[in-house]
Symmetry: C2
């Protein structure tokens, strides 16, 4: 990770340490919001304070009464231009909350709205230890360690440096499977995703960003636990599901959902992180880092289905093309 | 509301008051989980403590570190037999949390697992002031008032008694619209729902319980704010959306989503709670009570589409029919 980014992260963590904090709010839209789900999972597991995720405009209008100077509000927008997320950051800062924002664009409206802006890289794949999710994980472990010495801190920071290798190895290992997926599923107009725990965010962003937004394929990220309380009744031999099995504490939920689903659907795409090469990551951190590898692998699946459908991931009919 | 239920609610609220509470966890599965969404909305608006909703098995396996004797864990299962919810209640109680459980069945496993069980009615529609959501609202306002005198308390409790009239009037007013929906949409195999704020739970339960579970129709409850960050790209002239416009602070999100969606889809079913007869409910409580009326109205829509499809809402292929 670039020293400049590390400095920004350390400054933000020091600001959190200096305050009497009782609530972490993660606030963003769409793919950036999905990014926050594993961060909230880590906070739930490692920290005895409240950590909640909100879509930006819901946060602005709901205006939680608990939002005050003891809150930390962490926001993210790739362009730094998402109006709802800029507004959420402004609202939080006006309430006295500590505001930390991730953005790929410095000097963007979001950058200016937050007290502690953090830049992340995007363009160069070899630099994935400096991507949004890597920078976010670095912040989370810096904050955990700042509030109370965290035994996992040093190891987590060193695992972050191994993210580029982690992603590349597992993306390469899934090249054939991704091609097969693109070929087999190119005519589907509805594909469910399913996950739980640290991976739910990845399932959500694949459903709403990759499938719905970039491929115009209907989707819905089903929570593996919720599956049995309604959604499973749609399961049939010709209903496609992408099921992610995580490495975190919620894996039994994914295993149960997969075991049932495979009995009644002939169209299951299983992403089992137990088969990933996670050898560079410490055992007790594998569950936390699995979503990063899963996200990169699924991106490859999206590339392939886009290719087989002749529908580039960059095409939009509404987004950026009109006022909304 | 029956005096026996009121006694149970008051006893639970007194137990919360007696403790130094800092976090409310709402934990359930499927439709019962959806029931908790508006309760969490009310807590976010009226109370300066953390309030979070978890699917039961996620809660059990994630095991939030913040769960302790200062937590209140509120669970719900209609039958009182949902194993994940019983387990969540047991886990919470073992951690010293105050456990409150709603169930239609007394002496069920859930009833025995919780320190403060609360019974609710179901069979008789005239008694909707004693239903699960009514009992839950009563508990929420009793807790709010127990922790700190709540100006809305007396009025909220008296509005709860008016729920049967509220539901009946609005269900009756939507009889023709519901029939039309059943006829017009009976051949759709995919129907999205959309809402935000206090109504998101109703959109979620209509999607996963009524459409997916009871009609085997594909669905996904899109959050009105998230719609613009991915999902809206699937919008097309022939893609059906049920859009709920609420009366709470998040209504602008629903209005924006509807304004956009109606330009590109010819299949929009609008449930606008501004057109509901809410005259029995105090102005500043209308947003909180709208989801109850919306849920009852949507149930009528479900009855009609089931009737037009010859697929009774009671039919299941997996649920209760096998081990899973």
């Amino acid at each position: 990770m670039k020293q400049e980014h590390m400095d920004q992260i350390q400054k933000a963590a020091a600001a959190v340490k200096a305050k009497k904090v009782n609530h972490f709010y993660f606030v963003a839209c769409g793919g950036s919001k999905a990014l926050f789900e594993p961060a909230q999972y880590i906070m739930d597991r490692e920290c005895d304070m409240a950590a909640t995720v909100y879509s930006s405009n819901e946060f602005v209008h709901r205006a939680p009464k608990a939002l005050n100077e003891n809150s930390v509000v962490i926001t993210c927008s790739h362009s730094g231009n998402t109006p709802e997320t800029v507004k959420a950051t402004e609202v939080a800062r006006a309430k006295g909350a500590t505001t930390i924002a991730f953005s790929h664009l410095t000097d963007s409206p979001l950058w200016k709205a937050a007290e502690y802006p953090i830049h992340y890289n995007w363009a160069d794949e070899s630099d994935a230890s400096d991507y949004n999710n890597a920078a976010l994980y670095s912040l989370i472990f810096h904050i955990l360690n700042a509030m109370q010495p965290c035994e996992k801190y040093d190891r987590a920071i060193s695992c972050i440096e191994k993210i580029p290798v982690l992603l590349q190895k597992n993306v390469d290992a899934h090249a054939d499977a991704a091609k097969q997926f693109g070929s087999d599923y190119k005519r589907e107009n509805m594909i469910y995703t399913m996950a739980s725990g640290a991976n739910y965010g990845v399932a959500y962003s694949f459903a709403i960003c990759l499938l719905m937004e970039m491929q115009w394929i209907h989707s819905h990220a089903i929570h593996s636990g919720e599956y049995f309380h309604g959604p499973f009744e749609v399961t049939d031999f010709d209903v496609p599901f992408i099921i992610i099995k995580g490495l975190d504490e919620c894996r039994p939920l994914d295993e149960r959902a997969h075991a049932f689903c495979k009995k009644y659907s002939n169209k299951i795409v299983l992403i089992d992180t137990a088969n990933f090469d996670m050898s560079d990551i410490d055992d007790d951190l594998k569950g936390y880092f699995a979503p990063l590898a899963t996200g990169a692998v699924l991106r490859k699946y999206a590339d392939e289905i886009a290719d087989h459908r002749g529908h580039p991931l960059s095409v939009r009919r509404y987004m950026w093309r009109m006022e909304y």
